[in-house]
Amino acid sequence: MAYKSFILVCAGTGCHSNMGEEIYNELVKAVEAHNISQDVQVVKTGCFGFCEQGPIVKILPEEAFYVKVTPDDAPELVAEHVVKGRQVDRLLYKEPGMEKASNKIDDMGFYQKQFRIVLRNCGFINPEDIDEYIGRNGYQSLGKVLTELSPDDVIEELKKSGLRGRGGAGFPSWMKLSFSKGVTGVDQKYVVCNADEGDPGAYMDRSTLEGDPHSIIEAMAINAYTIGADKGFIYIRAEYPLAIERLEVAMKQARDYGLLGDNILGTDFSFDIEIRLGAGAFVCGEETALISSIEGKRGVPTPRPPFPPVKGLWGKPTCVNNVETLANIPVIIEKGGDWFKKIGTEKTSGTKVFALTGKVNNSGLIEVPMGTTLREIIFDIGGGIKDGKKFKAAQTGGPSGGVITEEHLDTPIDFDNLVALGSMMGSGGLIVMDEDDCIVDVTKFYLDFSVDESCGKCSPCRIGGRKLYDILDKISKGSATAEDVDKIDAIAEAMKKASLCGLGQTTPNPVLSILHYFRDELFSHINEKVCPAGKCKDLVSFSIDAEKCIGCTLCARKCPVNCISGAKRQAHEIDQSQCVKCGECFTVCKFDAVVKA
C-alpha cells in the first residue's frame, strides 16, 4: 500500500546539528506507536533553505511547515496533525509581522519568488536513498546521453541553454567541455567537481551536496562522457563531513546499480569518481591551485595558459566545474536547452542560489531566476530588514566582490549587471547591511580574509593586500589622510594587473567598491574623524545624557570594565579613560540616555 502522508525532516547541517537526528527518531517512534507506519513515511531530507528557523519538519500533503521543532514536539505532531488532522498552530511558521501562521508553503514570502532547479530535490528526497533520486527522474539524463546523444549533441544542448559557470567567473559551460573534447591523442582526460566553497558565509554547494548528491554524480558522468574522460574527482573541504559522508553513500549506491564503474547502464562507457579532501584554504578553490592540490602538491596557483580544459591534472585535459553548475546539467538534458534558456535574463540564463545573511528577517538559502532584483530578494523573500532598520547596502561576491546600494536595488541580478555595478556574483554569498553597519569595518573584514588567505607566492597579492588592509585600518582609526586614498587606487591597479591568480586580482574590489559608493562615509572617517554608524571604536565615544538618565544603574552593572559610576536615581557618568567602547551601556539603556558619538 502506498504512503498517504509524508513527514519530511530536515537533515541538513543546520538542522542536523540541532537535534535533527533525535527529532527523526522520535517521529518514527510516534508513527510506530500509532501503528501507522504503513501509511506514513518519515523521510530525512536535505536542507529546506530556511535554516534560521530550523529544525524544520514539513508534513505533506498538507504542506504544513513546522519550525524550531524539538524532539519533545514529535509525539504531538504525529498525534495531532497526522492522526487527527489538526495542525499544531504553535509550531507553524509565522511571517514576520503577521499574527497568523501561513498554512501553505506556497503562501510563504520566503518561498514565493523562488524557482528551484539546482535545489529541486533538496528538502524533498532522502539524499541517502538512490531510489528516491531515480523516482524524481534521476539518472534518466545520463541514460539518454549514453544511448541517444553524441558528445557533440550534449555540447549543443548546453550551448542552447546558455549555462554559465556558477563558480564565480561565469564562463560558458559548453565551451569548456568543447575545449577538453577537442584535445585528441591523449590517453586520459578528467572531470573535476569543485566543492571547495571558500567564500565566507557561503554554503550553497555544501547544501546541494548534502541534499542531492546524486545530481552531482550524474552530471559528472555526463560531462565525462562528453569529453571522453573515465575518471573524476570531487575536491571538497574536510570541514564538510556530512556532505562527504552523503557523497560516499551515494557513490556506493551508484556503483551497486551500475551507474558508476565499468560499462555504465550496459553501455561501453566506464567512469568512476574519487573524493579528494582539501584543508580549506581559500586559494585551493582556484582551479589551477585545486589541480596541484589533487596531484598531491601544495595548493598554489600556476599561470594560465595553459588552461586546465586543455592541460590540467597531470598534464591531461581536465574540466573543472562548480557544484551548482553541475546540478543544472541533468535538468538541461532532461528538459532541453531551450527550456533552460527561457529562465533568467538574456545574457545569464537559469537561476542562482544565494546564501542570504546579515540584517534580514529571513536568512537562508534561496534560489531565484537570474534577473530577480535585489529588492525582491531582500524585501519579499528576505522579509525586509531586521528590527525595522534602514537598508544600507548589500555585499555580493564575497572577498572578490563589492557593495550594492539603495539606488541599485532594482537592478536585475546577473553576472554582467553585477560587474557593471563594481561587484560580482561570486559564488553567491549575499550579505545585507543596515544603518548600524560601518562600511569601513565590513571592508576591513574582507581584506583581512584575503590577506590571510593569500598563498604568498606573488608579491602584488602578498604585499599589496597587506598595504590595503593597513590603510583601511588607519581610516578606521581616524589617522588616515586623503593621500592614503590615492594610494589605494595605485595599489589596486598594480594588484589587478600583476597578481598571478584571481585572488590577488580581486582583493582590491571591496575597497574600490566603497570608494565608489560610500565616499562620503569614507571621508567622514578621514576628515571629520567620525564613524557615522558608530562602529569604529577609535572614532566613537559613549557618554551619558544627564537629563535623560534616571539612574536605574543597569548600565553600570553591565559595563564589563566597571567604568560607569553614579548613585541610584542619580545621573550616571562614564569614565572615558577606562571605557573600552564595547557599546554594552548603549544597548542596555532603556531610556536612550547613553549617547553614541
Partner: protein, 130 residues
C-alpha cells in the same frame, strides 16, 4: 543489487515515481478529506484508501489527496471536498469507498457531478438537470 540497464532504470523510475509524485504538492486537482475524529469514526480512512487506489488505477498524476480536520458537518461524515479547474469547488458527504470511486470516475475523469452526494450545492444549474 544487480547492475541496471536502461530499461531497468526506466522501470524503477516508473515504480518509484508515483510514490514520489504523491509528495509533490504542486497539482491542480485536490481531494480534501475530513479526518477529524468524527470523520474517521464514520469511515474516512476507508474513503481515503479508496481514493488512493482509484487515482493510482486511473494513472492520474495531477491529483493531490490531503486530509484536513473536521469540516463542521459531523452528521454528514465522511465529507470530501474536490477542487479542480473547470469544475466548481464541491463538497461531497457520506463518502464511502464506492462513492469515492465514483467521484474519481465521474467528477474528475468525466467532469460530471455525483449529484446525489453533493453536500454544498454549488449552483442549481450545475447539479441535476445539467
Amino acid at each position: 543489487m544487480a547492475k541496471l540497464n536502461l530499461d531497468d532504470l526506466k522501470k524503477m523510475r516508473d515504480e518509484k515515481r508515483r510514490e514520489m509524485n504523491r509528495r509533490d504538492t504542486d497539482k491542480s486537482i485536490e481531494i480534501i478529506i475530513g479526518m477529524g475524529t468524527c470523520g474517521i469514526a464514520a469511515g474516512a480512512k476507508e474513503a481515503f484508501d479508496a481514493f488512493v487506489t482509484a487515482i493510482d488505477a486511473s494513472n492520474l498524476d495531477d491529483v493531490m489527496i490531503k486530509q484536513t480536520g473536521c469540516m463542521g458537518f459531523c452528521a454528514n461524515e465522511p465529507t470530501v471536498e474536490v477542487r479542480m479547474p473547470e469544475m466548481p469547488d464541491t463538497i461531497y458527504n457520506n463518502v464511502d469507498a464506492t462513492i469515492a470511486e465514483r467521484i474519481v470516475k465521474e467528477h474528475i475523469l468525466e467532469q460530471k457531478m455525483v449529484s446525489e452526494y453533493v453536500f454544498d450545492k454549488p449552483s442549481v444549474d450545475i447539479v441535476d438537470g445539467q
